[in-house]
């Protein structure tokens, strides 16, 4: 674990750049992470997904998979991939300041 500066704030991140302490997160940090990952601007649709992921993590201790994200957030899977190219669940988690989703076993 290392400490790094994102949007002028020192935050703890893992080797892949996921925040390890979700309390250090704020909206400026989200925007900075989004930019660094190829999303120039976070639209309302992005925010809807990011907030959904974050809320879910904070209330249940784990982030949803892409499929349940598609079912529950109201944003269809296809659109999730347009909003967050490559790995929507991973990227939305990163932007939302929560740990990397554990994936499946």
């Amino acid at each position: 674990m290392t400490i790094t500066l994102i949007a002028d704030a020192p935050v703890d991140v893992d080797t892949e750049g996921f925040l390890t302490n979700s309390e250090q997160w704020n909206e400026q940090i989200a925007e900075a992470i989004a930019k660094a990952n190829g999303i120039a601007e976070l639209t309302d649709r992005h925010w809807l997904v990011v907030r959904f992921m974050r809320d879910r993590y904070l209330t249940t201790g784990s982030a949803p998979s892409i499929r349940s994200l598609g079912k529950e957030s109201g944003v269809p899977v296809k659109e999730l991939y347009q909003l967050f190219p490559k790995g929507p669940a991973k990227l939305a988690a990163k932007i939302g300041g929560i740990p990397k989703p554990k994936g499946c076993i």
Binding site: S65, R67, S68, Y81, G103, C104, I105
Partner: protein, 422 residues
Amino acid sequence: MSRKQIVILGGGTGGTMVANRLRRRFDLDAAEIHVVDRDDRHVYQPGLLFVPFGLAHVEEIVRPRRRQLRSGVVFHENEVAEARIARDEVLLEDGTVLPYDALVVASGVRLQPEETEGMTGPGWNERVFTFYDAEGADALHGALERFDGGRLVVNIADMPIKCPVAPIEFAFLADWYLRERGVRARSEVVLATPLDGCFTKPIASEHLTYLLGEKEIELVTEFSAGEIDGVNGKLVSYDGREVDFDLLVTVPVHSGAAYVERSPGLGDALGFVPTDKHTLQTPAKANVFALGDATDLPTSKAGSVTHFEAEVLTENIARYFADEELEAGYDGHANCFIETGFHKALLIDFNYETEPLPGHFPTPIGLPLLRESRLNHLGKLLFQPIYWHVLLPGRDLPGLGSAMPTAGKKRTLSTPAQGARR
């Protein structure tokens, strides 16, 4: 203690094991045990892997469910319509209402090929197959016999799936099968997976990726199947990547049983049942327990997992009735033989905390772990009689208790508290 009513939903691997264990545990006048399943065909699912290659036939791996249940277990051949957990009763499709003191959810998963665009469209069961159910495995057998070279693509539509090693095993066996038939030189074998490696656990994934390379099987990772074009032979990911195929072997999206979604408070968005990792009680209600593929537990969906869980779950139902504290006895233990072709297999063994390690199982002179061997292949074959005659009846297998053994492992990481075992 008045006579208890126990209702078990699903008469597959987990439901059968739990029913038989409970039947032995309780006298007839202490508990009435009901098992509900929609049909009377119990499939030995690990055998499905061999059907497409002509190494097993469907009739050899199917037996009547009723006959696997001890006498004194009541079997209902019926569809579960709804579990009304607030009222401690289950509604069956024919209108029967089964009240219970304890409920066991053992209804496994539901395959949903229709969830992926185009999967069940033109080409389904002609060029696009699954071996995850008996009909599919049988149809694929015919297609493989006719396969005369080209691109054979194995794809996992989405995680979670049961037996996450089965698609890798399928690719290994396909390589072997095509070589035996002399068409491997004009064939390509591809494994496309949504994972970032071929398997979910890093050390085992590394070993398996090495084997894939050795067998010249192409691995495509982080590939989430969005659409299948069975006419033109194209598999397209959500992020627009394309994989061409002549024959597609797919593992469709898995969800929990449909009635779970109709039962308020029981399941999550995908129909899996949130379950305590160690006691197998559900947070939905104290008298509702779950095991096997139906749960949301962070371990593999596998028969071995279900078997280890059955032991803990039986104990905990007895404790629940006796008003005692539940045993936090399940440690996530999973144990899988991975068939690698050419009469060899490798074995992996892991739990919530410890990933699959090299060494031997269960002790330093046992079966080799994470290494191909003929002995492991024999172990895999021997599993079918063991399944019918030892595991389903709920007998204990020496050396194969629910807690993961560590004696033969090369590098023992932390093991969780395993609770007081009997």
